[in-house]
């Protein structure tokens, strides 16, 4: 078989000294509530470099979507970003005037959402919707914008793009709608693309197609990508680095192999054990994580994961002190656990 140079190989070692395109620092987002406000994003710091894919993993309510919604200044009232910075090429998006921010959204940082139907307006043709995005940022005539829309639809491999450009969203399949949304997101050549569960609503064979497409575009343009997902398989396949979120915080962060092979947070370990894999013995019982994810307005005093944690048991530090995210093992591998040493001592069995 001939050697195929693949996007993954090209990406697997991003320049280590490359500057972050998007850097989120100490982000804190709250929604008011009685008796106490809900802290949905709690002191989150993340960064992603050009050409790199950062996977953000977590369950619903873990704050993974809200982190990026906050960074883009899109938190809906009455929620509010209380603290933190979201630096896009060094400029803090959260301090920009509304008009400036709007200019950058879409042009420099774009987002693709899970549900391809809600991202498209059902009463407008997809071509018109793509043209609206283009013409909001670039001075193009209708004719030229339409040409550009067709080119973009071809770029995302929509067959017969010249005809499809006049279709309404309902005339497209789920996979084609997601392609149209990706076309819209990359229309202005963003530096960062945030893909929020981009394939959760799609079938596996279509999922594979869409993610191949995103990798392909990334390899070509060198954009940074944030892949928000709960699917650890997708992470293994597509990510360069991983951040695991729980209860509004990043609890573990590091290079792909470090997170999967030298896991240093018990929540990440528990996630791996709770999921049925195609390669584990089929008759073995799964090890569920007991209990429920935490309520963001009733976060426990100590570690948010302590009530469900097999390491915490009744350890006092777990119940009383919230652990900070700090280096575990190596400088690039961070864990927010008082007892990550226990996991290192357990040995890194192949999971």
């Amino acid at each position: 078989m001939e050697t195929v140079t693949t996007p993954r190989n090209a990406r697997s070692e991003p320049e280590s000294d490359g500057a972050a395109v998007l850097e989120i620092r100490g982000l804190l987002t709250r929604f008011p509530g009685e008796p106490v406000p809900a802290t949905v994003v709690n002191d989150v710091s993340l960064s992603v470099r050009a050409g790199e894919t950062l996977a953000v993993v977590g369950e619903s309510g873990s704050g993974k979507t809200m982190t990026f919604v906050s960074a883009m200044g899109l938190v809906a009232h009455p929620g509010r970003v209380i603290a933190g910075e979201a630096l896009l090429s060094g400029i803090d998006l959260l301090k920009l005037p509304a008009k400036e921010l709007r200019k950058r959204r879409g042009a420099e940082i774009a987002m693709v959402f899970q549900d391809p139907l809600s991202g498209l307006n059902p009463v407008f043709r997809i071509g018109d919707q793509i043209m609206a995005v283009i013409r909001a940022h670039r001075a193009l005539s209708r004719t030229d914008a339409r040409k550009e829309a067709v080119r973009l639809l071809e770029r995302v491999h929509i067959p017969d793009a010249g005809r499809r450009v006049d279709d309404y969203p309902h005339q497209l399949s789920g996979g084609m709608r997601q392609r149209a949304l990706i076309a819209m997101a990359i229309a202005l050549g963003p530096k960062v693309l945030i893909a929020d569960e981009p394939t959760t609503a799609l079938d596996v064979t279509v999922q594979a197609q869409i993610l191949e497409l995103l990798s392909e575009i990334q390899a070509e343009t060198g954009m940074a990508m944030v892949l928000i997902t709960h699917d650890l398989g997708l992470v293994a396949r597509h990510a360069d680095r991983v951040a695991v979120m729980y209860g509004g915080r990043v609890v573990e962060q590091g290079a792909l192999d470090a997170i999967f092979k030298r896991t240093r947070h018990p929540y990440t370990v528990a996630l791996f054990r709770s999921i049925p894999h195609l390669d584990t013995p089929a008759d073995s019982d799964l090890t569920p994580i007991q209990g429920q994810p935490p309520n963001p307005s009733r976060l426990p005093k100590g570690c948010a994961f302590a009530p469900r944690c097999y390491l915490a048991q009744d350890r006092r530090d777990c119940l009383e002190r919230s652990p900070t995210l700090a280096a575990a093992d190596s400088p690039g591998h961070l864990s927010a656990c008082h007892h990550w040493h226990d996991l290192a001592a357990e040995g890194d069995k192949a999971r």
């Binding site: 067959p159 064979t205 092979k261 999921i275 799964l286």
Partner: protein, 386 residues
């Protein structure tokens, strides 16, 4: 192997014999109906007592329609469905209602399937009241069921909205179990739940099956989940079973190219294995039930047909933007194979071929993603079948 020989039928709880369901669109202003959807097209299957049959397929494969046909929520256009040895195809409404004591359904959406104005007690007792259980028996039964599905009986007076998604799904299962059915139809029962909660529900379903010897028709799109819970698996494509067999056969030695490509599409949470694995990116998307391709219904998307044609084995024809074997384009292959593992393919894969294609073995050199299987023309994602 968990499979029983097909001949032994007294153990069968459910049997579908060549069942077809066609949905016709209503005519408009006296005009003839414009199109008919063949949602289920000649499906035969059986489930034994205490057994789980996993039904996998993509959107539009007809898997949910099969569940609804089994429960007689839809009437089949042709074919027969037998439950506990009785043909239920022609039963009237009253008899069907009685039948539903013995077979129950668990739905995907734990939010939409429970009445928000009813307490857990009412929700779980409702099926017993509807089916005329003696009032004196209800409280004891309620407590027993709640314990079995892992709910604290003291929570019986709360409303569904006070529960999390996982707990609501437990309530849904309790409602289904309370009449002591012999078959549960579970339609995507965990796909709306968080990953950490899915395992709780899957383990509970397995425990319940062990203690009650209840049979499951488990409908899902998640291949890993289906593998975890099923004894046997049937893979659906456009309303037809394209491969069926004991679980390990399907997952370890799949023969149908569609099953192989499905399995290759599922990412494995292991970076090393992901680097090693080949993946088959299918051509295009599933066709619609209104325009089922002639011949083998999978041929427009099939990588295997392209491989076979490229190898020059037998006559070929140009179709769907590719050169394909004539047989694939013209003949609809029936399910065939030795024993219980059957595939509907003219050119089923041999076990070693499957290993080579999936490269799940230790082929260190082939870490290229998307590396094409030998003899395989590069995919044109822009399939002409859309």
């Amino acid at each position: 192997m968990t499979d029983q020989p097909l001949a032994e039928t007294e153990n069968a709880i459910l049997e579908l014999d060549n069942v077809t369901k066609v949905f016709e669109s209503a005519g408009f202003l006296g005009r003839k109906p414009s199109h008919a959807v063949r949602a289920v097209d000649g499906v035969s299957l059986r489930i034994d007592r205490g057994e789980t049959l996993g039904l996998v397929g993509e959107t539009g494969s007809g898997k949910s329609t099969i569940g609804r046909l089994v429960l007689r929520l839809e009437d089949p256009t042709s074919g027969h469905i037998a439950f506990e040895g009785t043909d239920i195809t022609g039963l009237g409404t009253r008899q069907v209602r009685k039948l539903r004591q013995r077979m129950q359904m668990v739905f995907q959406d734990p939010y939409g399937s429970l009445d928000p104005r009813m307490t857990v007690r009412d929700l779980i007792a409702e099926p017993m009241i509807v089916h005329g259980a003696p009032a004196a028996e209800i409280p004891a039964r309620l407590e027993q069921i709640m314990l079995q599905v892992g709910l604290n009986p003291r929570m019986a007076d709360r409303y569904a909205h006070e529960f999390s998604g996982g707990q609501r799904q437990r309530i849904g299962v309790a409602r289904a179990l309370v009449l002591d059915p012999s078959l549960l139809v579970l339609d995507e029962p965990v796909s709306a739940l968080d990953v950490s909660i899915q395992a709780q529900i899957l383990n509970m379903l397995r425990d319940i099956q062990r203690t009650r010897n209840i049979a499951y028709l488990f409908i899902a799109h998640d291949l890993a989940v289906v593998r975890h819970i099923s004894h046997r698996v049937a893979v659906l494509y456009l309303g037809r079973i394209v491969e069926t067999g004991p679980r390990d056969e399907i997952y370890e030695r799949p023969r149908h190219p569609y099953t192989v490509s499905l399995l290759s599409s599922v990412p494995v949470p292991d970076p090393d294995m992901e680097r090693r694995r080949n993946r088959i990116v299918l051509h295009g998307e599933i066709s619609s039930g209104t325009a089922v391709p002639a011949g083998c219904r999978f041929h427009p998307r099939c990588f295997r047909a392209r491989m076979i044609a490229a190898q020059g084995k037998g006559p070929t024809i140009e179709r769907a933007g590719a050169v394909l074997p004539v047989r694939c384009v013209e003949d609809d292959p029936p399910l065939s194979g030795e024993g219980t593992h059957q595939a509907a393919c003219h050119f089923p894969l041999a076990p070693q071929e499957t290993v080579d294609i999936l490269a799940t073995g230790k082929r260190g050199a082939a870490h290229a993603r998307n590396a094409d299987p030998p003899g395989y023309a590069p995919p044109r994602i822009a399939g002409s079948d859309i």
